[in-house]
Symmetry: C2
Subunit: 205 residues, 2 copies
């Protein structure tokens, strides 16, 4: 058991991975899910989870780190080498959509003051990038909103969450949802609906 923290057997690794995956799903369902709920959902006993993570916070922290990394990558990949802010936002949304569940967890956890304040800090860089992009769009007149860029970023974020929830409730198929989300985010930013749909349609080749 001592080497579980350092050494790497395939068995232990697989379990650790599965615990993390299940924990993501479980925390998505209930942000205050207990270690026992997570363990049982992973087909494992509570004591085993403590073999892989010293405490609850460490588990969540690992999850958050992975999510932030994925989000950051998606966000960056979406907007690199793109001049048009609208297109950058659209690409970014489509990219983030691929890791929607992890994004959702981040937002859900960031809202709870209890869970962690460190999340906001770890999330800050990618949020700032988002704000910069929106501000550029606002300045160039591509976007149009009475809201300042940081506030628009909140709208951007919550819009994604809203569409996510719609998919969750079966109101939308997962396939069309990504494009819908992109179009909605753009129109919320003040891009004419026709222009937004056309742009997003073009991105899917």
């Amino acid at each position: 058991m001592a080497s579980m923290t350092t050494g790497n057997t395939s068995r232990a690794d697989a379990n650790r991975r599965r615990i993390l995956d299940v924990a993501l799903a479980e925390l998505l369902r209930d942000p205050d899910a207990s270690m026992d709920q997570i363990a049982r959902a992973a087909g494992v006993v509570r004591r085993t989870v403590y073999g892989h993570f010293p405490n609850r916070e460490a588990l969540i922290s690992t999850l958050v780190d992975e999510a932030v990394a994925a989000l950051s990558a998606a966000h960056t990949a979406g907007r690199e080498g793109v001049r048009d802010p609208a297109e950058a936002v659209a690409r970014s949304v489509l990219a983030v959509w691929e890791i929607a569940d992890r994004y959702r967890l981040l937002v859900a956890l960031a809202q709870r003051t209890v869970t962690m304040q460190g999340i906001r800090e770890r999330l800050a860089p990618v949020r700032e990038e988002s704000v910069r992009l929106l501000r550029r769009g606002l300045d160039e007149g591509v976007f149009s909103s009475p809201l300042p860029a940081p506030a628009l970023a909140y709208v951007h974020e919550q819009t994604l969450i809203a569409v996510l929830e719609a998919v969750n409730d079966g109101l939308l198929t997962a396939r069309e949802a990504g494009r819908c989300a992109a179009v909605t985010v753009l129109t919320a930013a003040g891009v004419p609906a026709s222009m937004a749909t056309e742009l997003v349609a073009k991105l899917n080749d």
Copy 2:
């Protein structure tokens, strides 16, 4: 103490009212705030709260009932006798804005599976009205969105939350925020930005 639940002394009533008000604020800050936190924030001992409400759920339930009533009233008042869906939505948003904090609590609690599932039920009627209004706007071509009406309702809701949070973070003054929220909701629904700003400006006389 027995008559605290039935009889009405001014003292007890004032306390009860203050407990409810403080509980609203406290639960807004942390949806899982303990009875002790709420009591102390209200300048009262925990035992006293149990004198007014038999248990935690009863307290929250009262809060929810009040909030649903206020929301329902605001929502109805906003759209009665208005033919244009866009104007109805705008008026509704402005009306809801007056009870923003209670609305926020409702949404926050509705998201937690733990707290109550009854909230969704009590919230369902007003949500359905919202969906109907959005659907009418979609059908009449006033709104334009790739999203079906129920999904658009989610976007509507989360957009309000986003602007609320922006105000909370000092990115917006409370005065301008209402109109900003209305404009943003409309543009998210596909109403051209210029038309949305003009309409909302007109509503403030």
